[in-house]
């Protein structure tokens, strides 16, 4: 049977919850023969946009790439095509903008209920909440 979810966006941050979200997305993608777009956003405080030193901090970009690769492998094992995307900016805002951009043709957003602990503060429950409110596409929250 057909589900109209051809393109699924999964914002990931490397946390257990986001991996669970990814698994769920893979499961849905298998049923609907869709593709997954995994997106990782490295959070950068707005002030760094002005401060030149902010751009020197690319050390954790490698971390972002690492778990994007992990996600790729995970999806490939199940035979699902996964496109990875790494961005720098404000997670909630960038995800919502990506979803609402009609060019991307996202049909569903699968997101973990909570991301990393507040100590690391990359992806909070607040991000899920923000995306939930701002996106114009269906959102699946995985608990």
């Amino acid at each position: 049977m057909t589900i109209k979810t051809k393109k699924i966006l999964v914002p990931i941050d490397g946390s257990k919850n986001s991996i669970r979200g990814l698994d769920m997305a893979i499961h849905i993608a298998r049923q609907s023969h869709g593709t997954i777009t995994a997106m990782a956003v490295k959070s950068v405080p707005g002030i760094y946009a002005i401060h030149p030193l902010g751009f020197l901090d690319f050390s954790s970009m490698t971390e972002v790439k690492k778990f994007l690769n992990e996600a790729k492998v995970r999806a490939a094992k199940k035979g699902i095509q996964l496109t990875a995307k790494a961005l720098v900016g404000d997670p909630g805002y960038d995800i919502a903008r990506f979803v609402n951009n009609k060019k991307n043709k996202i049909d569903l957003v699968v997101i973990g209920a909570r991301g990393r602990s507040s100590a690391k503060e990359i992806f909070l429950g607040s991000v899920s909440n923000y995306v939930l409110h701002k996106s114009k596409k269906p959102v699946l929250i995985v608990k």
């Binding site: 049977m1 057909t2 589900i3 109209k4 669970r20 698994d23 769920m24 499961h27 049923q31 609907s32 429950g125 899920s128 909440n129 939930l132 409110h133 996106s135 114009k136 596409k137 269906p138 959102v139 699946l140 929250i141 995985v142 608990k143």
Partner: protein, 145 residues
């Protein structure tokens, strides 16, 4: 809670209120049922809140109950046309609390709700309900926009 091995949606709860959004949610639920071969539970909650208590309550609740039964029937008919049988529930009380109770009792894997409910006049299943569910529910939630 879902474990890693259990990603199939066995039971899906669809709280409805008779609004456009809940119809949309129901449509989406049908698609998922077709794909995953799961069961649907329909739920209508008659809200019992303070303002209603103060006014003539019995009459108001009666009307709401009637409306609830009607919407449940309507939804059931939609499902039957697609060859899906569903359990229906009519509960009374706080909307979010009742939904949670049903989720626990029936061990649902997924809730599908609309983005918003009826207008503020009818005061039932507002966007606020979806919001509260998102924050407090113990199972996965699909919000249809």
């Amino acid at each position: 809670m879902n474990t890693n091995s259990n990603y199939s949606f066995k039971k899906i709860l669809v709280p409805i209120d008779g609004s456009k959004y809940s119809e949309k949610a129901l449509q989406r639920a049908c698609e998922i049922v077709n794909a995953f071969d799961s069961k649907i539970i329909l739920l209508y909650v008659v809200e019992k809140s303070l303002p209603i208590n103060l006014l003539d309550r019995k009459e108001y609740l009666k009307i709401l109950r009637k409306f609830g039964n009607k919407t449940l029937e309507k939804a059931n008919n939609v499902l039957l046309k697609k060859g899906i049988t569903a359990k229906t529930f009519l509960k009374e009380g706080n909307i979010v609390a009742e939904i949670e109770k049903v989720v626990k009792k029936e061990k649902c894997d997924l809730i599908i709700v609309g983005n918003k409910g009826l207008g503020s006049i009818t005061r039932f299943l507002l966007g606020s309900v979806s919001n509260k569910l998102a924050q407090s529910s113990s199972c996965s939630l699909l919000i249809i926009k």
